[in-house]
């Protein structure tokens, strides 16, 4: 951005190659997105490791945050998938922490929001989808397909309903990933556009500075909303994962 008054709201999602790597004709460079993902994993893992290392009976601040997040995910998983679902706890908890920390890290200026790229959220959603499919088929075999046959429908309507249910099942990874990606993308673009108004208006002189107060308050409010959405979307992502896992554990009736 050569002109400081021109604001490009998409620029924040640009992937920059930090270390160019190429294997077999594929570009597998280490980018700013990869760096942020590693930071996310290290931060989430490191925090939980340090927070739980003291294991006090009376938890300190860090330990109670770790315990609250454990309780939060554990009760969510138990509520939606039953006590059998607890074997998926490490998976769901890792997903939740990764998405949450990635979303929150994205709130730092000059940090890329990794969850605002569809490829990242799609990879996570497809991972969930494949795990649900493989576990369901491995555990229940052919009975897993009962998931697509609702109870008490006439035989005549069966093919139609089953086809619709199968398509509905296949849309899960799409809506699962698009939901997180679109929320993060839209939120960050709105934030950037309003901040851009402030910058362009202040360059207009005294009248502009007075006029910039309105978008500035909007930007402040939106920042708070973005923090809420960062948490909410991580919660929604984990919640949907729990619901899908429930289908793998209890297909049919």
């Amino acid at each position: 951005m050569a002109d400081p008054t021109k604001v490009d709201p998409i620029h924040q999602f640009h992937i920059n190659t930090l270390i160019p790597i190429e294997i077999g004709g594929y570009d597998v460079s280490f980018t700013n997105s990869s760096l942020l993902m590693i930071v996310t994993a290290v931060l989430a893992g490191g925090f939980l490791f340090i927070a739980t290392s003291s294991r006090g009976t009376v938890p300190g601040r860090a330990q109670s945050i770790a315990e609250i997040s454990y309780e939060f995910i554990a009760s969510m998983l138990r509520d939606s998938a039953g006590s059998q679902g607890m074997k998926f706890f490490p998976f769901v908890f890792t997903l939740f922490m990764f998405v949450l920390v990635a979303n929150l890290l994205g709130m730092f200026p000059y940090f890329i929001t990794v969850t605002s790229h569809l490829i990242i959220t799609a990879a996570l959603a497809i991972l969930v989808f494949v795990i649900v499919l493989v576990y369901g088929l491995w555990k229940h075999g052919f009975r897993f397909f009962k998931l697509f046959v609702p109870e008490g429908i006439p035989v005549v309507l069966m093919p139609l309903v089953v086809a619709i249910e199968v398509i509905s099942f296949l849309t899960r990874p799409i809506s699962h990933s698009v939901r997180l990606f679109a929320n993060m993308l839209a939120g960050h673009i709105t934030l950037k556009v309003f901040s851009g108004f402030v910058v362009s208006l202040t360059s207009l002189g005294a009248v502009g500075i007075v006029g910039a107060i309105l978008p500035l308050t909007m930007a402040v409010g939106l920042t708070a909303l973005e923090f809420l959405i960062a948490f909410l979307q991580a919660y929604v992502f984990a919640m949907l994962t729990c619901i899908y896992i429930n289908d793998a554990i209890h297909p049919g009736h």
């Binding site: 509520d79 939606s80 998938a81 039953g82 006590s83 059998q84 139609l160 086809a163 619709i164 249910e165 398509i167 509905s168 296949l170 849309t171 799409i174 809506s175 698009v178 939901r179 679109a182 929320n183 839209a186 909303l225 809420l228 959405i229 909410l232 619901i243 429930n246 289908d247 209890h250 009736h253």
Partner: protein, 115 residues
């Protein structure tokens, strides 16, 4: 402070905590629906709907490619995808019974779920 007194205080605190938790639980139910921004709901519902159509059309297109039934596969599965999209939207808006309620009952009455 004597042991009995300490126990009584702890019990009181426990009771207060459970009451508080129950209150929060009751509050958080409807609050999670209203607190999210309107555009989050819009994004959710539209992504559900569009995903249904995309997947339906995709399946139809693949069937046409494999079986050479063009354009019937695309037409039929596009319409089925539309139905699936509408079903998804109704489900995520909570207008069609979610399978979640059934699972909660199932978990309490099945003995294998207790392990």
């Amino acid at each position: 402070m004597s042991d009995g007194e300490f126990d009584a205080r702890r019990r009181k605190l426990d009771e207060a905590l459970t009451a508080r938790k129950r209150q929060e639980k009751a509050k958080s139910g409807p609050a999670t629906k209203g607190s999210s921004a309107g555009y989050a709901v819009a994004l959710r519902l539209s992504s559900e709907f569009i995903a249904g159509i995309l997947v339906g059309a995709g399946i139809g297109w693949i069937i046409d490619r494999l079986a050479g039934t063009s354009p019937w596969g695309l037409i039929v599965f596009f319409l089925l995808g539309f139905c699936a999209g509408v079903l998804n939207v109704l489900r995520s808006a909570g207008l069609v019974a979610e399978p979640k309620i059934k699972s909660a009952e199932r978990d309490t009455d099945s003995p294998e779920g207790k392990q």
